[in-house]
Protein backbone atom coordinates (compact mmCIF):
# COMPACT_ATOMS: atom_id res chain seq x y z
CA UNK A 1 0.00 0.00 0.00
CA UNK A 2 1.38 3.39 -0.95
CA UNK A 3 1.96 6.09 1.68
CA UNK A 4 -0.86 8.17 0.25
CA UNK A 5 -3.33 5.30 0.41
CA UNK A 6 -2.28 4.43 3.91
CA UNK A 7 -2.71 8.02 4.98
CA UNK A 8 -6.16 8.13 3.48
CA UNK A 9 -7.14 4.97 5.32
CA UNK A 10 -5.84 6.46 8.56
CA UNK A 11 -7.84 9.62 8.01
CA UNK A 12 -11.04 7.71 7.36
CA UNK A 13 -10.49 5.55 10.45
CA UNK A 14 -9.95 8.63 12.59
CA UNK A 15 -12.99 10.41 11.22
CA UNK A 16 -15.41 7.52 11.21
CA UNK A 17 -16.50 6.88 14.84
CA UNK A 18 -17.32 10.47 15.86
CA UNK A 19 -18.87 11.40 12.50
CA UNK A 20 -20.99 8.24 12.35
CA UNK A 21 -22.10 8.65 15.96
CA UNK A 22 -23.17 12.26 15.42
CA UNK A 23 -24.87 11.53 12.09
CA UNK A 24 -26.90 8.63 13.51
CA UNK A 25 -27.62 9.91 17.03
CA UNK A 26 -27.76 13.65 16.45
CA UNK A 27 -28.40 14.79 12.85
CA UNK A 28 -30.83 12.00 11.99
CA UNK A 29 -32.90 12.49 15.18
CA UNK A 30 -33.12 16.25 14.58
CA UNK A 31 -34.24 15.60 10.99
CA UNK A 32 -36.93 13.21 12.27
CA UNK A 33 -38.17 15.94 14.64
CA UNK A 34 -38.24 18.36 11.70
CA UNK A 35 -40.32 15.83 9.76
CA UNK A 36 -42.64 15.21 12.73
CA UNK A 37 -43.28 18.94 13.03
CA UNK A 38 -45.12 18.74 9.68
CA UNK A 39 -47.28 15.75 10.65
CA UNK A 40 -50.56 15.40 12.51
CA UNK A 41 -50.66 14.03 16.03
CA UNK A 42 -51.64 10.41 16.54
CA UNK A 43 -54.39 9.26 18.85
CA UNK A 44 -52.11 7.86 21.56
CA UNK A 45 -49.13 10.22 21.27
CA UNK A 46 -47.02 9.40 18.23
CA UNK A 47 -47.88 10.78 14.80
CA UNK A 48 -50.21 10.19 11.87
CA UNK A 49 -48.55 10.39 8.47
CA UNK A 50 -50.63 13.28 7.16
CA UNK A 51 -48.71 16.42 6.21
CA UNK A 52 -49.88 19.71 7.65
CA UNK A 53 -48.69 23.20 8.49
CA UNK A 54 -51.12 23.54 11.38
CA UNK A 55 -48.44 23.02 14.05
CA UNK A 56 -46.59 26.07 12.84
CA UNK A 57 -49.81 28.05 12.52
CA UNK A 58 -50.57 27.26 16.17
CA UNK A 59 -47.18 28.64 17.21
CA UNK A 60 -48.34 32.08 16.18
CA UNK A 61 -51.52 32.03 18.22
CA UNK A 62 -51.51 34.41 21.17
CA UNK A 63 -50.89 31.93 23.99
CA UNK A 64 -47.74 30.35 22.61
CA UNK A 65 -46.43 33.58 21.19
CA UNK A 66 -46.62 34.93 24.75
CA UNK A 67 -44.47 32.08 26.06
CA UNK A 68 -41.93 32.58 23.28
CA UNK A 69 -41.91 36.33 23.91
CA UNK A 70 -41.37 35.73 27.64
CA UNK A 71 -38.47 33.36 26.95
CA UNK A 72 -36.79 35.89 24.66
CA UNK A 73 -37.41 38.71 27.14
CA UNK A 74 -36.05 36.77 30.13
CA UNK A 75 -33.03 35.63 28.12
CA UNK A 76 -32.41 39.22 27.04
CA UNK A 77 -32.68 40.51 30.64
CA UNK A 78 -30.35 37.75 31.79
CA UNK A 79 -27.80 38.64 29.12
CA UNK A 80 -27.89 42.38 29.97
CA UNK A 81 -27.64 41.71 33.72
CA UNK A 82 -24.75 39.26 33.23
CA UNK A 83 -22.99 41.81 31.04
CA UNK A 84 -23.44 44.62 33.60
CA UNK A 85 -22.23 42.41 36.44
CA UNK A 86 -19.64 40.49 34.43
CA UNK A 87 -17.81 43.28 32.61
CA UNK A 88 -16.50 45.10 35.72
CA UNK A 89 -15.76 41.75 37.36
CA UNK A 90 -13.78 40.55 34.34
CA UNK A 91 -11.96 43.90 34.23
CA UNK A 92 -11.18 43.63 37.94
CA UNK A 93 -9.76 40.11 37.57
CA UNK A 94 -7.79 40.91 34.41
CA UNK A 95 -6.07 43.88 36.04
CA UNK A 96 -4.82 42.03 39.15
CA UNK A 97 -1.32 40.54 39.47
CA UNK A 98 -0.93 37.14 37.71
CA UNK A 99 -1.12 35.20 40.99
CA UNK A 100 -4.36 36.80 42.09
CA UNK A 101 -5.71 36.57 38.57
CA UNK A 102 -5.52 32.77 38.53
CA UNK A 103 -7.03 32.44 41.98
CA UNK A 104 -9.94 34.78 41.17
CA UNK A 105 -10.52 33.09 37.84
CA UNK A 106 -10.69 29.75 39.62
CA UNK A 107 -13.34 31.24 41.93
CA UNK A 108 -15.43 32.07 38.85
CA UNK A 109 -14.93 28.63 37.33
CA UNK A 110 -15.87 26.60 40.43
CA UNK A 111 -19.60 27.42 40.28
CA UNK A 112 -19.46 26.69 36.55
CA UNK A 113 -18.29 23.16 37.33
CA UNK A 114 -20.84 22.50 40.04
CA UNK A 115 -24.16 20.87 39.29
CA UNK A 116 -26.62 23.27 37.70
CA UNK A 117 -29.57 21.64 39.45
CA UNK A 118 -27.91 22.03 42.84
CA UNK A 119 -27.07 25.68 42.18
CA UNK A 120 -30.63 26.37 41.09
CA UNK A 121 -32.04 24.58 44.10
CA UNK A 122 -29.95 26.78 46.43
CA UNK A 123 -32.19 29.69 45.43
CA UNK A 124 -35.25 27.91 46.82
CA UNK A 125 -33.67 28.04 50.28
CA UNK A 126 -33.08 31.75 49.79
CA UNK A 127 -36.32 32.80 48.12
CA UNK A 128 -39.17 30.74 49.58
CA UNK A 129 -41.59 32.49 51.94
CA UNK A 130 -39.92 31.12 55.09
CA UNK A 131 -36.52 31.28 53.36
CA UNK A 132 -33.34 33.12 54.18
CA UNK A 133 -34.15 36.41 52.41
CA UNK A 134 -37.60 36.76 53.94
CA UNK A 135 -36.43 35.72 57.40
CA UNK A 136 -33.59 38.22 57.26
CA UNK A 137 -35.81 41.07 56.05
CA UNK A 138 -38.42 40.27 58.69
CA UNK A 139 -35.97 40.11 61.56
CA UNK A 140 -34.53 43.44 60.43
CA UNK A 141 -38.15 44.64 60.47
CA UNK A 142 -37.94 45.95 56.92
CA UNK A 143 -41.03 43.95 56.02
CA UNK A 144 -43.80 42.54 58.21
CA UNK A 145 -45.24 39.94 55.83
CA UNK A 146 -43.02 37.54 53.85
CA UNK A 147 -42.57 38.66 50.25
CA UNK A 148 -43.72 36.39 47.48
CA UNK A 149 -40.38 35.76 45.76
CA UNK A 150 -40.29 32.12 44.73
CA UNK A 151 -42.32 30.97 41.69
CA UNK A 152 -42.18 34.39 40.06
CA UNK A 153 -40.48 35.70 36.89
CA UNK A 154 -38.08 37.47 39.25
CA UNK A 155 -36.95 34.14 40.72
CA UNK A 156 -36.42 32.73 37.22
CA UNK A 157 -34.39 35.78 36.17
CA UNK A 158 -32.20 35.51 39.29
CA UNK A 159 -31.71 31.79 38.70
CA UNK A 160 -30.74 32.34 35.06
CA UNK A 161 -28.32 35.17 35.88
CA UNK A 162 -26.78 33.05 38.63
CA UNK A 163 -26.50 30.01 36.39
CA UNK A 164 -24.92 31.73 33.40
CA UNK A 165 -22.77 34.52 34.87
CA UNK A 166 -19.55 32.45 34.56
CA UNK A 167 -20.26 31.99 30.82
CA UNK A 168 -20.15 35.79 30.50
CA UNK A 169 -17.11 36.43 32.67
CA UNK A 170 -14.75 33.93 31.00
CA UNK A 171 -14.82 35.30 27.40
CA UNK A 172 -14.86 38.88 28.71
CA UNK A 173 -11.82 38.13 30.81
CA UNK A 174 -9.87 36.69 27.90
CA UNK A 175 -10.60 39.70 25.67
CA UNK A 176 -9.77 42.23 28.40
CA UNK A 177 -6.61 40.36 29.36
CA UNK A 178 -5.41 40.52 25.75
CA UNK A 179 -6.10 44.27 25.58
CA UNK A 180 -3.00 46.38 25.10
CA UNK A 181 -3.12 48.94 27.90
CA UNK A 182 -0.59 51.24 26.23
CA UNK A 183 -3.52 52.23 23.99
CA UNK A 184 -5.12 53.82 27.06
CA UNK A 185 -1.99 55.90 27.59
CA UNK A 186 -2.04 56.87 23.94
CA UNK A 187 -5.65 58.02 24.25
CA UNK A 188 -4.78 60.02 27.35
CA UNK A 189 -1.82 61.61 25.58
CA UNK A 190 -4.16 62.64 22.83
CA UNK A 191 -6.32 64.38 25.41
CA UNK A 192 -9.13 61.91 26.07
CA UNK A 193 -10.31 61.52 29.65
CA UNK A 194 -11.06 58.15 31.29
CA UNK A 195 -14.72 58.03 30.30
CA UNK A 196 -14.02 58.94 26.69
CA UNK A 197 -11.13 56.45 26.54
CA UNK A 198 -13.40 53.74 27.84
CA UNK A 199 -16.16 54.38 25.28
CA UNK A 200 -13.97 55.09 22.27
CA UNK A 201 -11.02 52.75 22.79
CA UNK A 202 -11.53 50.13 25.48
CA UNK A 203 -15.12 49.09 24.80
CA UNK A 204 -14.76 48.72 20.99
CA UNK A 205 -11.56 46.70 21.35
CA UNK A 206 -13.09 44.29 23.85
CA UNK A 207 -16.34 43.95 21.90
CA UNK A 208 -15.39 40.45 20.75
CA UNK A 209 -15.60 39.24 24.36
CA UNK A 210 -18.88 41.09 24.85
CA UNK A 211 -20.48 39.44 21.83
CA UNK A 212 -19.09 35.97 22.62
CA UNK A 213 -20.20 36.20 26.26
CA UNK A 214 -23.65 37.47 25.28
CA UNK A 215 -24.16 34.55 22.90
CA UNK A 216 -22.93 32.05 25.50
CA UNK A 217 -25.51 33.42 27.97
CA UNK A 218 -28.42 34.17 25.64
CA UNK A 219 -28.40 30.81 23.84
CA UNK A 220 -28.85 28.51 26.85
CA UNK A 221 -31.10 31.07 28.59
CA UNK A 222 -33.71 31.06 25.77
CA UNK A 223 -33.95 27.27 25.89
CA UNK A 224 -33.70 27.07 29.69
CA UNK A 225 -35.71 24.26 31.16
CA UNK A 226 -34.59 23.50 34.72
CA UNK A 227 -34.59 27.08 36.05
CA UNK A 228 -38.18 28.00 35.08
CA UNK A 229 -39.28 24.50 36.07
CA UNK A 230 -37.88 24.75 39.61
CA UNK A 231 -38.06 28.48 40.36
CA UNK A 232 -40.82 29.64 38.01
CA UNK A 233 -44.06 28.01 39.00
CA UNK A 234 -46.97 27.67 36.59
CA UNK A 235 -47.03 31.35 35.64
CA UNK A 236 -43.48 31.59 34.35
CA UNK A 237 -43.45 28.85 31.74
CA UNK A 238 -40.69 29.18 29.12
CA UNK A 239 -40.35 27.49 25.72
CA UNK A 240 -38.33 24.65 27.25
CA UNK A 241 -41.15 23.78 29.67
CA UNK A 242 -43.73 24.05 26.91
CA UNK A 243 -41.76 21.57 24.78
CA UNK A 244 -41.47 19.18 27.70
CA UNK A 245 -45.23 19.44 28.35
CA UNK A 246 -46.04 18.62 24.74
CA UNK A 247 -43.90 15.47 24.88
CA UNK A 248 -44.56 14.19 28.40
CA UNK A 249 -48.04 15.42 29.30
CA UNK A 250 -50.09 16.62 26.32
CA UNK A 251 -48.50 13.93 24.15
CA UNK A 252 -48.72 16.21 21.14
CA UNK A 253 -45.42 15.27 19.55
CA UNK A 254 -45.85 17.14 16.25
CA UNK A 255 -46.59 20.42 18.04
CA UNK A 256 -43.71 19.82 20.49
CA UNK A 257 -41.48 19.17 17.47
CA UNK A 258 -42.57 22.43 15.82
CA UNK A 259 -41.83 24.30 19.06
CA UNK A 260 -38.39 22.80 19.34
CA UNK A 261 -37.61 23.59 15.69
CA UNK A 262 -38.64 27.21 16.32
CA UNK A 263 -36.39 27.33 19.40
CA UNK A 264 -33.50 25.94 17.38
CA UNK A 265 -33.96 28.56 14.65
CA UNK A 266 -34.18 31.37 17.23
CA UNK A 267 -30.85 30.23 18.65
CA UNK A 268 -29.04 29.43 15.41
CA UNK A 269 -29.74 32.83 13.81
CA UNK A 270 -27.73 35.00 16.26
CA UNK A 271 -24.93 32.43 16.38
CA UNK A 272 -24.63 32.25 12.59
CA UNK A 273 -24.70 36.05 12.32
CA UNK A 274 -21.92 36.21 14.90
CA UNK A 275 -19.72 33.82 12.95
CA UNK A 276 -20.39 35.64 9.68
CA UNK A 277 -19.41 38.94 11.22
CA UNK A 278 -16.34 37.64 13.06
CA UNK A 279 -15.16 35.81 9.90
CA UNK A 280 -15.38 39.06 7.94
CA UNK A 281 -13.50 41.11 10.51
CA UNK A 282 -10.66 38.61 10.69
Amino acid sequence: MSVKNRQQTNLLLLLFPATAWLMVFFILPVLIVLLYSFLERGTYGGVTWIFTLSNYQRLFSGLFLGVIGRSLWLAFLTTVACLLAGYPLAFFIATRSPRWRNALLLLVIIPFWTNFLVRTYAWIILLRSEGVVNTALQSLQIISEPLNLLFTPFAVAIGLIYGYLPFMVLPLYSSIERFNFSLVEAAHDLGANDIRTFWRVFLPLTSRGIVAGSILVFVPAVGAFITPDILGGSKTVMVGNLIQNQFMKARDWPFGSALSMLLTVIILIPVLIYFRVSDETQ
Binding site: P17, W21, I32, N115, L165, G223
Partner: protein, 285 residues
Protein backbone atom coordinates in the same frame (compact mmCIF):
# COMPACT_ATOMS: atom_id res chain seq x y z
CA UNK B 1 -1.42 67.54 30.25
CA UNK B 2 -3.09 68.37 33.55
CA UNK B 3 -6.18 66.53 34.55
CA UNK B 4 -9.33 68.31 35.58
CA UNK B 5 -10.71 67.74 39.06
CA UNK B 6 -13.68 65.96 37.54
CA UNK B 7 -11.45 63.44 35.76
CA UNK B 8 -9.62 62.64 38.97
CA UNK B 9 -12.90 62.24 40.84
CA UNK B 10 -14.22 59.87 38.19
CA UNK B 11 -11.06 57.82 38.45
CA UNK B 12 -11.15 57.64 42.26
CA UNK B 13 -14.81 56.63 42.32
CA UNK B 14 -14.24 54.15 39.50
CA UNK B 15 -11.45 52.40 41.38
CA UNK B 16 -13.46 52.05 44.60
CA UNK B 17 -16.57 51.01 42.73
CA UNK B 18 -14.62 48.30 40.93
CA UNK B 19 -13.65 46.69 44.23
CA UNK B 20 -17.19 46.93 45.59
CA UNK B 21 -18.64 45.50 42.39
CA UNK B 22 -16.21 42.57 42.37
CA UNK B 23 -16.94 41.84 46.03
CA UNK B 24 -20.68 41.91 45.35
CA UNK B 25 -20.30 39.64 42.31
CA UNK B 26 -18.33 37.04 44.28
CA UNK B 27 -20.83 37.26 47.13
CA UNK B 28 -23.61 36.63 44.60
CA UNK B 29 -21.75 33.59 43.26
CA UNK B 30 -20.94 32.05 46.63
CA UNK B 31 -23.64 33.09 49.09
CA UNK B 32 -26.25 30.60 47.83
CA UNK B 33 -23.69 27.79 47.89
CA UNK B 34 -22.57 28.68 51.41
CA UNK B 35 -26.14 28.89 52.69
CA UNK B 36 -26.91 25.54 51.13
CA UNK B 37 -23.98 23.97 52.97
CA UNK B 38 -24.87 25.65 56.28
CA UNK B 39 -28.50 24.56 56.10
CA UNK B 40 -27.54 20.96 55.44
CA UNK B 41 -26.51 20.96 59.13
CA UNK B 42 -29.60 22.78 60.41
CA UNK B 43 -31.75 20.86 62.85
CA UNK B 44 -34.88 22.72 61.76
CA UNK B 45 -36.91 20.82 59.25
CA UNK B 46 -38.72 23.57 57.37
CA UNK B 47 -37.65 26.88 58.79
CA UNK B 48 -34.78 29.04 57.63
CA UNK B 49 -34.13 29.85 61.28
CA UNK B 50 -31.10 28.09 62.77
CA UNK B 51 -32.23 25.44 65.25
CA UNK B 52 -28.89 23.86 66.03
CA UNK B 53 -26.32 21.61 64.43
CA UNK B 54 -27.28 18.15 63.23
CA UNK B 55 -25.91 15.42 61.00
CA UNK B 56 -29.34 13.80 60.70
CA UNK B 57 -29.81 14.72 57.04
CA UNK B 58 -26.52 13.09 56.14
CA UNK B 59 -27.38 10.09 58.29
CA UNK B 60 -30.68 9.71 56.48
CA UNK B 61 -28.78 9.51 53.18
CA UNK B 62 -26.36 6.88 54.40
CA UNK B 63 -28.91 4.77 56.25
CA UNK B 64 -31.70 2.69 54.76
CA UNK B 65 -33.76 5.85 54.65
CA UNK B 66 -31.66 6.77 51.63
CA UNK B 67 -33.70 4.26 49.74
CA UNK B 68 -37.05 5.41 51.07
CA UNK B 69 -36.73 9.14 50.40
CA UNK B 70 -36.68 8.31 46.71
CA UNK B 71 -39.75 9.66 45.02
CA UNK B 72 -40.98 8.60 41.62
CA UNK B 73 -39.04 5.36 41.51
CA UNK B 74 -38.45 2.73 44.12
CA UNK B 75 -34.73 2.91 43.46
CA UNK B 76 -32.74 4.68 46.14
CA UNK B 77 -29.91 7.14 46.07
CA UNK B 78 -27.28 4.41 45.82
CA UNK B 79 -28.80 2.92 42.70
CA UNK B 80 -28.96 6.44 41.26
CA UNK B 81 -25.31 7.06 42.12
CA UNK B 82 -24.33 3.70 40.62
CA UNK B 83 -26.19 4.47 37.40
CA UNK B 84 -24.66 7.96 37.21
CA UNK B 85 -21.14 6.59 37.61
CA UNK B 86 -21.71 3.79 35.10
CA UNK B 87 -23.17 6.17 32.49
CA UNK B 88 -20.42 8.73 33.09
CA UNK B 89 -17.63 6.13 32.89
CA UNK B 90 -18.79 4.51 29.65
CA UNK B 91 -19.78 7.74 27.89
CA UNK B 92 -16.52 9.42 28.94
CA UNK B 93 -14.39 6.60 27.54
CA UNK B 94 -16.30 6.53 24.24
CA UNK B 95 -16.39 10.32 23.84
CA UNK B 96 -12.71 10.69 24.77
CA UNK B 97 -11.56 8.06 22.27
CA UNK B 98 -13.82 9.31 19.45
CA UNK B 99 -13.13 12.97 20.21
CA UNK B 100 -9.34 12.49 20.32
CA UNK B 101 -9.43 10.57 17.03
CA UNK B 102 -11.36 13.25 15.21
CA UNK B 103 -9.20 15.99 16.77
CA UNK B 104 -6.15 14.25 15.25
CA UNK B 105 -7.87 14.06 11.87
CA UNK B 106 -8.76 17.77 11.94
CA UNK B 107 -5.36 18.99 13.11
CA UNK B 108 -3.04 16.71 11.14
CA UNK B 109 -4.83 16.23 7.81
CA UNK B 110 -6.13 18.50 5.09
CA UNK B 111 -9.13 16.99 3.40
CA UNK B 112 -12.22 18.11 1.52
CA UNK B 113 -15.25 18.50 3.75
CA UNK B 114 -13.23 19.57 6.77
CA UNK B 115 -15.47 22.58 7.28
CA UNK B 116 -18.52 20.32 7.27
CA UNK B 117 -16.99 18.07 9.92
CA UNK B 118 -16.19 21.11 12.05
CA UNK B 119 -19.79 22.30 11.72
CA UNK B 120 -21.02 18.84 12.70
CA UNK B 121 -18.93 18.98 15.88
CA UNK B 122 -20.00 22.54 16.62
CA UNK B 123 -23.76 21.92 16.40
CA UNK B 124 -24.25 19.80 19.56
CA UNK B 125 -22.69 22.64 21.60
CA UNK B 126 -25.04 25.38 20.40
CA UNK B 127 -28.16 23.29 19.85
CA UNK B 128 -30.55 23.74 22.81
CA UNK B 129 -30.15 20.80 25.18
CA UNK B 130 -33.86 20.21 25.18
CA UNK B 131 -33.84 19.79 21.38
CA UNK B 132 -31.09 17.17 21.66
CA UNK B 133 -33.05 15.42 24.41
CA UNK B 134 -36.41 15.27 22.65
CA UNK B 135 -34.80 14.40 19.29
CA UNK B 136 -33.26 11.33 20.89
CA UNK B 137 -36.57 10.47 22.54
CA UNK B 138 -38.39 10.69 19.20
CA UNK B 139 -35.60 8.79 17.43
CA UNK B 140 -35.44 5.90 19.90
CA UNK B 141 -39.22 5.59 20.04
CA UNK B 142 -39.36 5.34 16.25
CA UNK B 143 -36.43 2.90 15.97
CA UNK B 144 -37.78 0.71 18.78
CA UNK B 145 -41.17 0.53 17.07
CA UNK B 146 -39.58 -0.46 13.76
CA UNK B 147 -37.46 -3.10 15.51
CA UNK B 148 -40.54 -4.49 17.27
CA UNK B 149 -42.53 -4.66 14.04
CA UNK B 150 -39.71 -6.42 12.22
CA UNK B 151 -38.43 -8.82 14.88
CA UNK B 152 -40.97 -8.82 17.69
CA UNK B 153 -38.26 -7.82 20.15
CA UNK B 154 -39.40 -5.06 22.51
CA UNK B 155 -36.71 -2.52 23.38
CA UNK B 156 -37.01 0.18 26.03
CA UNK B 157 -35.27 3.38 27.02
CA UNK B 158 -32.64 2.80 29.68
CA UNK B 159 -28.98 3.09 30.51
CA UNK B 160 -27.74 2.44 26.93
CA UNK B 161 -29.91 5.20 25.47
CA UNK B 162 -28.74 7.65 28.15
CA UNK B 163 -25.10 6.73 27.40
CA UNK B 164 -25.67 7.32 23.67
CA UNK B 165 -27.04 10.81 24.42
CA UNK B 166 -24.16 11.71 26.70
CA UNK B 167 -21.60 10.67 24.07
CA UNK B 168 -23.35 13.01 21.60
CA UNK B 169 -22.77 16.15 23.66
CA UNK B 170 -19.39 15.08 25.06
CA UNK B 171 -17.59 14.36 21.75
CA UNK B 172 -17.52 18.06 20.83
CA UNK B 173 -16.10 19.21 24.15
CA UNK B 174 -13.37 16.55 24.05
CA UNK B 175 -12.46 17.50 20.47
CA UNK B 176 -12.15 21.22 21.32
CA UNK B 177 -9.91 20.52 24.32
CA UNK B 178 -7.62 18.06 22.53
CA UNK B 179 -7.43 20.16 19.35
CA UNK B 180 -6.23 23.17 21.31
CA UNK B 181 -3.27 21.13 22.59
CA UNK B 182 -2.55 19.56 19.20
CA UNK B 183 -2.48 23.00 17.57
CA UNK B 184 0.22 24.12 20.01
CA UNK B 185 2.26 20.97 19.42
CA UNK B 186 5.10 21.30 16.93
CA UNK B 187 4.35 18.92 14.01
CA UNK B 188 8.10 18.67 13.43
CA UNK B 189 8.36 16.39 16.47
CA UNK B 190 6.13 13.89 14.69
CA UNK B 191 7.97 14.49 11.42
CA UNK B 192 11.25 13.70 13.14
CA UNK B 193 9.88 10.38 14.37
CA UNK B 194 8.80 9.53 10.80
CA UNK B 195 12.24 10.42 9.50
CA UNK B 196 13.81 8.12 12.07
CA UNK B 197 11.74 5.28 10.63
CA UNK B 198 8.76 5.08 12.98
CA UNK B 199 5.44 4.33 11.30
CA UNK B 200 2.23 6.31 12.05
CA UNK B 201 1.13 3.93 14.76
CA UNK B 202 4.46 3.97 16.57
CA UNK B 203 4.74 7.76 16.22
CA UNK B 204 1.32 8.16 17.76
CA UNK B 205 2.03 5.95 20.76
CA UNK B 206 5.58 7.10 21.42
CA UNK B 207 5.44 10.81 20.50
CA UNK B 208 1.96 12.30 20.03
CA UNK B 209 0.04 10.55 22.78
CA UNK B 210 2.53 11.28 25.60
CA UNK B 211 2.63 14.93 24.54
CA UNK B 212 -1.13 15.47 24.39
CA UNK B 213 -1.92 13.20 27.34
CA UNK B 214 -2.66 16.04 29.82
CA UNK B 215 -5.18 17.54 27.38
CA UNK B 216 -6.84 14.16 26.87
CA UNK B 217 -7.04 13.68 30.61
CA UNK B 218 -8.57 17.07 31.26
CA UNK B 219 -10.97 16.55 28.34
CA UNK B 220 -12.02 13.26 29.93
CA UNK B 221 -12.54 14.98 33.28
CA UNK B 222 -14.69 17.63 31.60
CA UNK B 223 -16.73 14.91 29.88
CA UNK B 224 -17.08 13.06 33.18
CA UNK B 225 -18.34 16.20 34.93
CA UNK B 226 -20.76 17.08 32.13
CA UNK B 227 -22.13 13.55 32.16
CA UNK B 228 -22.49 13.39 35.95
CA UNK B 229 -24.24 16.79 35.93
CA UNK B 230 -26.50 16.34 32.96
CA UNK B 231 -30.18 16.56 33.62
CA UNK B 232 -31.97 17.53 30.41
CA UNK B 233 -30.67 14.91 27.96
CA UNK B 234 -30.85 12.22 30.66
CA UNK B 235 -34.43 13.21 31.50
CA UNK B 236 -35.63 12.50 27.96
CA UNK B 237 -33.56 9.39 27.20
CA UNK B 238 -34.02 7.51 30.45
CA UNK B 239 -36.44 4.72 31.17
CA UNK B 240 -37.81 2.94 34.20
CA UNK B 241 -35.02 1.73 36.48
CA UNK B 242 -32.29 3.97 35.11
CA UNK B 243 -32.54 6.84 37.60
CA UNK B 244 -29.41 8.99 37.83
CA UNK B 245 -28.26 11.24 40.68
CA UNK B 246 -29.46 14.53 39.11
CA UNK B 247 -32.83 12.88 38.32
CA UNK B 248 -33.01 11.70 41.93
CA UNK B 249 -32.28 15.21 43.23
CA UNK B 250 -34.83 16.65 40.81
CA UNK B 251 -37.45 14.25 42.18
CA UNK B 252 -36.64 15.36 45.72
CA UNK B 253 -36.86 19.04 44.82
CA UNK B 254 -40.11 18.70 42.90
CA UNK B 255 -42.03 16.23 45.00
CA UNK B 256 -40.83 16.41 48.58
CA UNK B 257 -39.52 18.98 51.00
CA UNK B 258 -36.75 17.43 52.98
CA UNK B 259 -33.46 18.99 54.12
CA UNK B 260 -31.84 15.75 52.94
CA UNK B 261 -31.66 17.59 49.59
CA UNK B 262 -29.28 20.08 51.23
CA UNK B 263 -27.08 17.22 52.39
CA UNK B 264 -27.00 15.46 49.03
CA UNK B 265 -26.41 18.80 47.25
CA UNK B 266 -23.51 19.58 49.57
CA UNK B 267 -21.95 16.21 48.81
CA UNK B 268 -22.36 16.81 45.07
CA UNK B 269 -20.71 20.23 45.47
CA UNK B 270 -17.76 18.61 47.20
CA UNK B 271 -17.47 15.99 44.46
CA UNK B 272 -17.41 18.70 41.74
CA UNK B 273 -14.80 20.65 43.68
CA UNK B 274 -12.60 17.55 43.88
CA UNK B 275 -12.92 17.10 40.11
CA UNK B 276 -11.93 20.73 39.41
CA UNK B 277 -8.93 20.59 41.72
CA UNK B 278 -7.66 17.30 40.30
CA UNK B 279 -8.11 18.59 36.75
CA UNK B 280 -6.07 21.70 37.55
CA UNK B 281 -3.37 19.56 39.18
CA UNK B 282 -3.06 17.52 36.00
CA UNK B 283 -2.91 20.61 33.78
CA UNK B 284 -0.12 22.10 35.91
CA UNK B 285 1.98 18.94 35.67
Amino acid sequence: MTKTKLDLLVRAIGKKWLWVQAALAFAFLYLPILILIIYSFNASRFNAVWRGFTLDWYRSLFSNAGATIATSSSAGIWTALNNSLLIAAISTVLATVFGTMIALALERFHFPGRKAVEALLFLPIIMPEITIGISLLVFFTLVFRIVENLTGIRLNLGLPTVIIGHVVFNISFVTITVRARLAELDPQLEQAAFDLGANEWRTFWRITLPLIWPAIFSAALLALTLSLDDFVVTFFTTGVGSMTLPLFVYGLIKFSVTPAINAISTLMLLASLLLVVSSLKVQKN
